[in-house]
Amino acid sequence: MFARRLILVLAAMFALFSATPQLTLVTPAYAVNPDEMLKDPALEARARRLSAGLRCLVCQNESIDDSNADLAKDLRLLVRERIKAGDTDDEVIDYLVSRYGEFVLLKPRLDWATLALWATPLVVLFCGIALAGITVAGRRKPKAPPELSDAEEAAIARITADHG
């Protein structure tokens, strides 16, 4: 079992690095199958919610809930096993991260490496507001109209002469 998973993970890494076209061709996603589902609807709902945030490692940005890859199926079963064993949501996530790394999370956790990612919207927005504020405030001071160039002065003189 472990060997099979290892092969799949290696295949995933291979797919991501070498980007072979064959693996990018999507076959229809069959996602969750009826036989995988938990009997208890509350537990199943939790499993579905967790699955939606976990990445299928062999797919491109697809959650294990959407993917039909074998690895995704294994992960879905794993999530349900942990839930049945009484894990909380956080414990399930921690377990998966300990096995597959942060890569498995579609929503990266906030740490030093992802700080810039999470801060982007706020930083850009505040910089934008500050910039707009400064520009608008600076612009409201009356400014002398720009000087006309000699050519333009000459043109005006010519036009006024014509009409005069």
């Binding site: 797919a15 991501l16 980007a19 072979t20 076209p21 693996l23 990018t24 061709l25 999507v26 076959t27 229809p28 996603a29 069959y30 996602a31 969750v32 199958n33 009826p34 036989d35 589902m37 939606a52 945030g53 990445r55 491109q60 940005n61 697809e62 959650s63 959407d66 790394g101 942060e102 890569f103 498995v104 999370l105 579609l106 929503k107 990266p108 490496a113 992802t114 810039a116 990612l117 999470w118 982007t120 919207p121 850009v124 927005l125 934008g128 507001i129 707009a132 608008v136 612009r139 409201r140 720009p146």
Partner: protein, 666 residues
């Protein structure tokens, strides 16, 4: 022979593009009219040449000429004729050829419709267009030549990727490219203005229609791609925050911001420098999108082209154009004079607000898309950034923006009255409140977020109509006069209203389907029934159906409501032997605005039952209907005489006539 003519035409077009890169701009520098005029001739000629080249490739696809490597790799003689045509751009080389064809097309449009443009501006614009064209023609000829021959020619081709054998995908890439590449015009105008060192309101008047055209195509192209993914990929999702989707969404966000800021520049000659920057950024994001999709740096549903040399080549083009443009901008922008003044609460202020949030949203999507790549290169750390991240960041950014939409058109230029605008929106506020209370009552107070989503959607719907309603003054002058006043409004007023209304329609669809969708995944045997959302589906039969280049397994279901037969739904799986791939053909029944969505999964090992996925998707079609409204809004804006290309001629003639009359009077 035809293939060689196509190849030759392509090489010749490169030579023409090189000439066009140099002569007109020199002419503009020296004030030599004859040199400047070469731009228009070269642009038109280049378009014809690339057109010949594209037609040659298409003819080898239609005739299944497998002695052409590209054709042998991406088509099959058994394909239906339509998909032989569309195979032309269903692959890397062909789609790049389509890209340059559209680029040359836009260039020739400038040459054709740009008669009233100042000669130097036109010459500069055409030269800048030719720089882009030259770079991409070199890319095609050096790394992605579609005309390479194959000897000996195989008997049969390798078929087009089956998921692309679909009418949606036949139209999606050309639409998307018309959008993507259309922004090159805004870019070229921006660069030309920077080279000239002059920019005025007339510039914005020229840029806005081009941006609008590109924006309309991009809007519809993205919507079409989304609907395609919805029905073709078989799990009923309509947006995945897939990097390639993001690649088309970023230029859309920036382009939408550009449309609005160009409006300020045109009307009030403010925000000049920002508009120029935005024009550069929008096309840069289009180039980035092309890079992401075409280089294979991201491997995903759409990326069917992978080769590092190509990636590096496009990356060089990217750096050259974006870097060069920004450098020129930094050099010249300070010398561009700022324009009209305005108070923070004003139409201009509202449009700045719009730009702030749209740009932040674009930046968020950009960073989210590239962050995993960058982190891996810099720190060797692998992370994923997927839908949950974007939902959490992009979503909250859209809320204040959408809330502010109805205010914009009600605020006056220069100095607006926020309180007055709010008072005029009482009807919209009432609608929103009613939606809020209604949804809370309907769900027993459990879905607070959903209720606010519906409230926002109705606020947008009613709020966008308020402007038209007030301008027609229905309450003051009565329905009859009001109606005639409404019809007399400039079509740009309808444009803004329709586009904003479409936003509300799309939001309504999104909120509704993400809150109230029902799902049933079950194993079924023929003769069994399933229940969902008040409908009873009975599985009638499953049978084999051979297709032209595939074998299908089709299941038929009868839908009943209260014992009455409503419709039959057919859904199938297709197996394509050449590529050894299976696709799902989802079965969809549209009932009013909602859909019942079926797709087939795997059969059980004993082949007695098959997994069936059934979704009830309430109001899901509104998501795409809304985008049609947005596109229509764009068309109405474009139809406004004030913006129509060539319109200045008439007003100038009128002005000339008036001067003459004045002269006669004096």
């Amino acid at each position: 022979m035809i293939v060689e003519i196509g190849h030759f035409a392509l090489v010749l077009s490169l030579a023409v593009a090189m000439v066009q890169s140099v002569l007109p701009i020199i002419g503009a520098r020296k004030g030599d009219e004859r040199l400047m005029e070469t731009g228009a001739i070269a642009a038109t000629g280049g378009f014809v040449l690339i057109g010949i080249s594209f037609a040659a490739l298409m003819s080898s696809y239609v005739t299944s000429d497998f002695s052409v490597l590209n054709v042998a790799e991406n088509s099959n003689s058994l394909q239906p004729l339509l998909y032989k045509f569309t195979s032309t751009w269903g692959n890397h080389e062909g789609s790049m050829l389509l890209w340059v064809l559209i680029l040359a097309f836009f260039g020739s449009l400038v040459a054709l419709f740009g008669r009233d443009l100042p000669a130097t501006l036109k010459a500069n614009v055409l030269s800048v267009q030719a720089w882009i064209l030259t770079a991409f023609l070199l890319f095609i000829l050096l790394t992605s030549n579609p005309f390479e021959r194959l000897d000996p020619a195989p008997m049969e081709g390798q078929d087009l990727n089956p998921i692309l054998q679909d009418i949606g995908l036949a139209i999606h890439p050309p639409m998307l490219y018309l959008g993507y590449v259309g922004f090159s015009i805004a870019f070229s105008f921006a660069i030309a203005a920077l080279i000239d060192g002059r920019i005025d309101a007339a510039w914005a008047r020229w840029v806005r229609p081009w941006t609008l055209i590109a924006w309309i195509f991009l809007t519809l192209g993205i919507a079409m791609g989304s609907y395609w993914a919805y029905y073709e990929l078989g799990w009923g999702g309509w947006w995945f925050w897939d990097p390639v989707e993001n690649a088309s969404f970023m230029p859309w966000l920036a382009g939408t911001a550009l449309l609005h800021s160009a409006l300020v520049m045109e009307k009030r000659s403010a925000l000049k420098i920002w508009t120029i920057l935005l024009a550069i950024l929008t096309f840069s994001l289009s180039l980035l999108g092309t890079f992401l999709v075409r280089s294979g740096v991201l491997t995903s549903v759409h990326a069917f082209a992978t080769d590092p040399t190509r990636g590096v080549f496009i990356l060089c083009i990217l750096c050259l154009f974006i870097g060069g443009a920004l450098f020129l901008f930094a050099l010249r922008a300070p010398s561009l004079a700022g324009g009209g003044l305005f108070a923070p609460i004003s139409r201009e202020g509202a449009l700045v607000f719009n730009n702030l949030f749209l740009t932040t949203a674009a930046a968020t999507v950009l960073v989210g898309t590239l962050y995993p790549l960058v982190l891996e290169v810099v720190a060797g750390q692998k992370i994923s950034v997927g839908a949950p991240f974007f939902d959490l960041t992009f979503g909250p950014l859209m809320v204040p923006l959408l809330f502010a939409v109805p205010f914009g058109p009600l605020l006056g230029w220069k100095r607006g009255d926020l309180l007055g605008a709010a008072q005029r929106l009482y009807f919209a506020a009432g609608c929103a409140l009613a939606a809020l209370v209604g949804v809370l009552a309907f769900t027993g107070g459990t879905r607070v977020l959903t209720a606010f989503g519906f409230a926002l959607a109705f606020w947008l719907l009613a709020g966008s109509l308020t402007d038209l309603f007030l301008r027609a003054a229905f309450l003051k002058v009565g329905w009859r006069t009001g109606l005639s006043r409404l019809l007399g409004l400039p079509s740009s007023a309808f444009g803004a209203t329709l586009a904003h209304f479409g936003l509300g329609v799309t939001l309504l669809g999104i909120v509704s389907v993400s809150s109230f969708q029902q799902e049933l995944i079950t194993s079924m045997a023929p003769g069994k029934t399933a229940e969902i959302a008040g409908y009873t589906l009975s599985f009638d039969r499953i049978d084999q159906r051979p297709g032209p280049n595939f074998d299908a397994q089709a299941a038929t279901f009868t839908v009943r409501q209260g014992g009455v037969e409503m419709t039959k739904i057919e859904t199938s799986k297709r197996f394509f032997p050449v590529r050894q791939m299976t696709t799902t053909e989802s079965g969809i029944w549209t009932h009013w605005f909602s859909q019942l969505y079926l797709s087939l999964g795997d059969p059980s090992p004993d082949l007695q039952t098959i997994v069936v996925r059934i979704w009830w998707k309430p109001f899901v079609t509104l998501i795409w209907i809304g985008t049609v409204f947005m596109g229509l809004g764009g068309v109405f804006s474009l139809a406004d005489r004030r913006l129509r290309v060539g319109a200045p001629t008439r007003s100038r003639r009128k002005a000339a006539g008036r001067d003459a009359a004045l002269g006669a009077g004096a």
